[in-house]
Structures are given as C-alpha cells and as structure tokens.
C-alpha cells in the first residue's frame, strides 16, 4: 500500500492570507472519520460474506457471478483497514474546500439535519399535494434553513419557481410531473 500523502506541518494549508491562520485547530473530527472508515470496512466484510450466497448456475464453468464481488469486498476491507490505521495514527483527511465554504467555522449539524428532513418531506409531498407545491416546500424550506429572511419571500420564490418549472417541464416539454389535487384540470400544467 502506498503511504498516505503526508499532511504538511501546521495542519491544512492556509493559502488565503486574509482570514486568521487556522493552524491552531486540533483534530476534533477523528471520531466521525473513524466511524466512516469502520463503516467502509464493515461494508467490505458484508460484501465478502454476502457474495458467498449468490447463486451460481451450474453452466458457468469459469468466473461466475461471485468473483467480482469478492474482489470488491476485499478492496473495501483493505481501504477501510488502512484508513482506520491512518486515522488512529493521527493522519486525518483534508476536508474539501470551496468558494462558499468557510474553513474557520465548525460544522452546523442542525442545518444538515434540517436540510435532510426537508428533502424527505419533499419526497412524500410530491404525491400528496402535487409537484409544484412539494417543490415550493423544498426550495422555500431549504432557503430559510440556509439563512433567507424574511421567510415569506423565500416561500413565495419557491412557489413561483415550482409553478414555472411545472409549466415549462410539465406543460411544454411533456415531463409527467403530477400537478396535484389542487391544480387538477388546469390544462397547461398537465404532463
């Protein structure tokens, strides 16, 4: 196994001069990272075990449907074990940067949970109230969670966006987006 790329001394590279140097950040994220590495290993073990129960038809005399899964399972276990060792020895990963990512703030878990909840609600709302309203819920909800104020402007924007997409994609391009019980019978919304 090739050794992991060494993390330069002083933690993550601070290439942007303006913000205060984030070098004084001890690795508080080791637990979550360890869980992810262990999950990778566990998935690999599961793949190895489950591969054994794939039915092999008698006709295939050479490489059957089990061989590749064994290989994949082995790779998962290998990668997972190496990562666990690396993390335990203190060499944690470098999280991804980005234009809108603030490297100096800690993860806001509440936002993550709320976004996932809104997405799940959106999924169940599609059939219940129709796609345009489910879309309004998703857009407005996500925007408010991410900091849009006042909330009613975000909700209004979501509603307009949902209806516009419904008209363009459902009405004009023929995607069968369900308009929902409220808009049943409006001709230009039908997919």
């Amino acid at each position: 196994m090739a050794p992991d790329a060494p993390v330069p001394p002083g933690g993550p590279t601070a290439e942007d001069a303006p913000p205060p140097p984030g070098a004084v950040e001890p690795p508080p994220r080791r637990w979550g990272e360890l869980v992810l590495a262990l999950a990778t290993t566990a998935l690999g073990v599961y793949v190895l075990v489950a591969a054994g129960s794939i039915t092999v038809p008698g006709s295939s005399n050479t490489l059957g449907p089990r061989a590749f899964p064994y290989l994949v399972g082995g790779m998962l276990v290998a990668a997972g074990v190496v990562l666990v060792v690396l993390i335990l020895s203190g060499r944690t990963g470098q999280e991804e940067g980005g234009e809108d990512v603030d490297p100096s703030v800690r993860t806001d878990w509440l936002t993550v949970v709320l976004l996932v909840v809104i997405l799940v609600v959106h999924v169940f709302a599609i059939n219940a109230v129709g796609w345009p309203f489910a879309a309004a819920l998703l857009f407005g909800g996500a925007a408010v969670v991410l900091g849009a104020r006042p909330w009613w402007r975000a909700a209004l924007a979501g509603l307009v966006l949902g209806l516009v997409i419904q008209v363009i994609f459902g009405g004009l391009l023929g995607l069968s987006l369900p308009a929902g019980p409220l808009l049943e019978g409006v001709p230009f919304l039908r997919g």
Partner: protein, 500 residues
C-alpha cells in the same frame, strides 16, 4: 479524406438553425451554471441532464457539448472575480487571475483566459478530429483482455490521482464498484445485493448517484459550513479597450500555444485530467518567465493564459478515450458517458462507425461552441457578475430543487428521490472527511463493464489467468500503470509543495 467529409457533414448538421439554437442554449446555460460558485462541469451536466430528457439524441449531444465547454469558461470567470478558489482545475488561475483582478486588471485576466481557452480549445479540437478516428481504428483490434487492462489503468489512476489521499480514493472507488454490482448479473441473470427489493433488480440509476453526490452532497456540505456575510465580487472596468493591451497579447500568445500543447496530451491519458494539465502549464510558464518570474503569485498574465489554455485543451483531450474507448478519465467524462447511455448510445470503438453522424456533429459543435463562447463571454461579463451575486441561500436551495427534479424525472417515482437523499448524505460525509467523490462515479460506471470484460476474457481462455497479461497491449498497459502512478504521485506532491 473520408473523415474530412464526415466532419463537413457534421458541420452541415450543426449549422442547421435549430441546432445552432441548441448549441447557443447549451453554451449559455453551461456558462451561467458554470459561473455559479461551487458548481463544476460535472455537477453542471448532472444537474442539466433532466433538461435534455425530452430532446432527440443529436440535439441533446449538442447541448451537452455546449454545457461542457461553457462550464469550463464559466469556471474561470468565477475564480478570477471571486476571492476564493473553487473548481479544482482553475485553482492556479485563481491565484494569478484573482491577483490581477485585485490590481484592477480583471478585464485583461478574463480576456486572456477566454481567448486562450478559445485558441487552445480550437487547436485541441483539431487534434481530436484527427486523432479520434486513428485511435478508434486501432481500438477495434483490441481484445477482451486488452479492454480489461485499460479499465484497470483507469481504476488505478482515477482512484489514486483524483483526490489528495490514495486510500480514500481507493475506498471511494470500491464503494462505486459495489454500487455498480447491485442489480441483476448480466451474464448469469442472478440477482446480487438487491436485498430482496424488486426496485433494485435493475440496479441503481447512475444519474441518481451522480446528482446525489455532486449536487445534494455539495449543497448540504456547503450548508453545514456556509460563508456568511456579503459576497465580495471584484469589480471589472468597463469598455473593451481595457481587455487586453498590446503588451498583454505579446505576453499571452506563447503561453496559449504551450498550454494547448501540454493540455491535450495530458487530457488524453488517464492521469488526473485537467488539474494536472493546468498545474503543469503553470509550472512551465513560471520556469520560462525569466526576469518576470517574480511577478508570479502577484498577478502574472502568463500564469492565467497558460493554465486556462491547458484546461480547455485537456477538456478536448479527455474526449479522445471517451469517444473511442468508452473510457472515462475524469468525473465529468463519467457523467457524459451516463448522458450517452441514457440515449442508448454506448461510447467505444464502434461508436465512430455506428453513430458516425452523431459523433461528427458533436465534434463540429465543439468548434462552433468554442466560437460562440469567446464571442459571448467577454461582452456578457456584467451579467456573469450579477449571476455571481445570487444570494447563496437561494443558490443552494435551487441546486437541491433541480437535483430532486432530475432524479424524480427518471421514473417519476418518489423512491428515486429518497435514494437521492441517501446518496447525498453519503456525499456529504465523504466531502467532510476528505474522500474524493469522482472515483465513486467512475467506479460505478466502469465497474460493470470491467467485470464483463474480465469474465468474457476468462471464458475465452477457459479460466487461464495468464491470458489476461500475455497480449502485448495488456502487458504494456499494466507496465504503464506503475509509471503513471509514480509520475502522478510525484506531480501531486509537487503541486502540494507549490501550493503550500
């Protein structure tokens, strides 16, 4: 001259007014979405896939070509005018271009990036025109073990080179391979890892995975660590006279040509894609700058011109293995394969014969799209600046909405959107802990193909494993892996040392 007439025919198709409109639409939307921060070309195409579901294949491919190039142009605008680097391929541009913009030379930086992209993109498209038929003709002679060897090369380079950590890349790749296993085995008809769920018997749709990882995962990740406060876009001086002065042209044209010469070959080999090309070009320009070397890091125009040219040339180079071998070497290329597949078109050595008119229309539309972009990009800078100012909460809410729409539109089944959320959550954790997501997508798309080739090879040889390595091509490929890995890791190290 057979290919030449085929290309002329491709132009005849593309210059049809309707298709010109599609191309214009593609480059426009591609640039607009590419300008949006946090959205790279892979995510642009993944998000816009649903837009093209109702188009006929030729129109859709032309739109994709426009989006592909447009996304590249848009990305450089973002990195020059916004004060933090985004899309990985343009990080070096961000260093030099951003410094230039801060010094009040933003227009010149944008102009040299756009014109350089046009020059290098056009040269690379010419190279693609001549190289693709040659490679395809040669690829037809490859046997099953040769293809398997090629795919192993792609797995190893993509897993090890796309991202900063080799084991994390490998884990991501393996996860993709696992997702590719889910479904019904094509050769024996056995169900694998379907957990008894009937929906999984057809496998997981790659579009859901790609959109989930790139769009939902990114939006949730940015949401968890959002940069608040005003968005600082560097103002650009008005008027075309400020674009480029005589001296800027004199300093730019050689880096453009060198960028094209570096970018295209690097793009064609599976060595990490545009990132490596831009970095190599930047290093070359700095070395050749002579007395001007001390300007580098403070806003040297050569440091924008070269890497931007290399970036676009590499984007064309990537299309060579994609169209002739069906081999994706970057995340964006993997998404393009998905787009092709959604139209029932399988990229590979037979593509140029079976879908000749489509391929030549695609190549012709690259020429046309490039021209449109260089014409569009500079006069519309004011509009792109407005796009850059979109409030972030609306931007990421919109990304989530379009991602959800895209997966719902696949089968009109809410289950797909639920799966999207799950994949998005995986994408979030991968980003947070530094796992690259690109190898996952590549693994999921290439995995089933590789398994197929491997098993066919061994069926031919009746289980003799040595058959896999005895063909001269396959042996060369396995030897090349070792060289590519050594060179690639060395480059990554230098890149990191340079950035630090």
């Amino acid at each position: 001259m057979d290919n030449f007439s085929a290309l002329i025919e491709g132009f005849a198709t593309v210059l049809h007014p309707m298709y010109l409109l599609y191309a214009l639409f593609g480059v426009f939307v591609g640039t607009a979405v590419g300008v949006l921060p946090g959205i790279g070309p892979a995510m642009t195409i993944a998000l816009l896939l649903p837009l093209t579901y109702s188009l006929e294949p030729t129109a859709a491919i032309i739109v994709f070509a426009g989006i592909y190039y447009g996304g590249m142009y848009g990305g450089s605008t973002t990195s020059i005018l916004l004060n933090t680097p985004g899309e990985s391929a343009s990080i070096v541009t961000a260093i030099e271009g951003n410094r230039m913009a801060r010094a009040g030379r933003g227009a010149a930086a944008l102009a040299t990036a756009a014109i350089g992209s046009f020059v290098a993109g056009s040269i690379a498209t010419v190279a693609l025109t001549f190289l693709a038929p040659v490679v395809a003709g040669w690829a037809v002679q490859l046997g099953e073990p040769d293809y398997f060897a090629l795919m192993v090369v792609a797995f190893v380079t993509v897993g090890a080179l796309l991202g900063s950590s080799v084991p994390r890349g490998l884990a991501s790749l393996s996860l993709g391979l696992f997702l590719g296993l889910i479904g019904t085995d094509t050769l024996t008809g056995q169900q694998r890892f379907t957990f008894g769920v009937p929906n999984l018997a057809d496998g997981i749709d790659v579009v859901v995975v790609a959109v989930g990882l790139f769009a939902v995962g990114e939006a949730v990740y940015v949401g968890s660590r959002m940069r608040h406060g005003p968005i600082r876009v560097i103002p650009v001086e008005k008027g075309w006279r400020t674009w480029m002065k005589r001296d800027d042209w004199r300093r730019s044209w050689k880096p453009w040509l060198r960028g094209a010469a570096i970018g295209f070959p690097v793009g064609t080999i599976p060595a990490g894609g545009a990132d490596v090309a831009t970095f190599l070009s930047y290093a070359a320009e700095r070395r050749l700058a002579g007395p001007r070397r001390k300007q580098f890091g403070k806003g040297a125009i050569e440091g924008v011109a070269g890497p931007e040219a290399a970036n676009n040339a590499a984007a064309s180079g990537v299309l060579v293995p994609l169209l002739t071998l069906g081999l994706p070497t970057t995340a964006t290329a993997a998404i393009i394969i998905v787009a092709f597949q959604s139209y029932g078109i399988q990229p590979g050595p037979m593509l140029l014969q079976n879908e000749s008119s489509l391929v030549w229309a695609l190549i012709a539309s690259l020429y046309v799209g490039n021209l449109m972009l260089v014409v569009l990009n500079l006069p519309l800078v004011g509009m792109w600046v407005k796009v850059l100012r979109i409030p972030r909460h609306y931007l990421y809410a919109g990304i989530l909405l379009f991602g959800a729409l895209g997966s719902y539109a696949l089968n009109f089944a809410p289950v797909d959107v639920l799966l999207l959320v799950l994949i998005g959550l995986i994408g979030f954790f991968m980003r947070r802990y530094g796992y690259p997501v690109a190898p996952l997508v590549v693994g999921m798309i290439l995995g089933p193909m590789a398994e197929d080739r491997l098993r066919r090879s061994l069926a031919i040889s009746q289980g003799d494993l040595s058959y896999l390595v005895t063909s001269p091509f396959a042996a060369t490929a396995y030897a090349a892996i070792i060289v590519l890995l050594a060179v690639g890791i060395w480059l990554k190290r230098r890149e990191r040392a340079e950035e630090a």
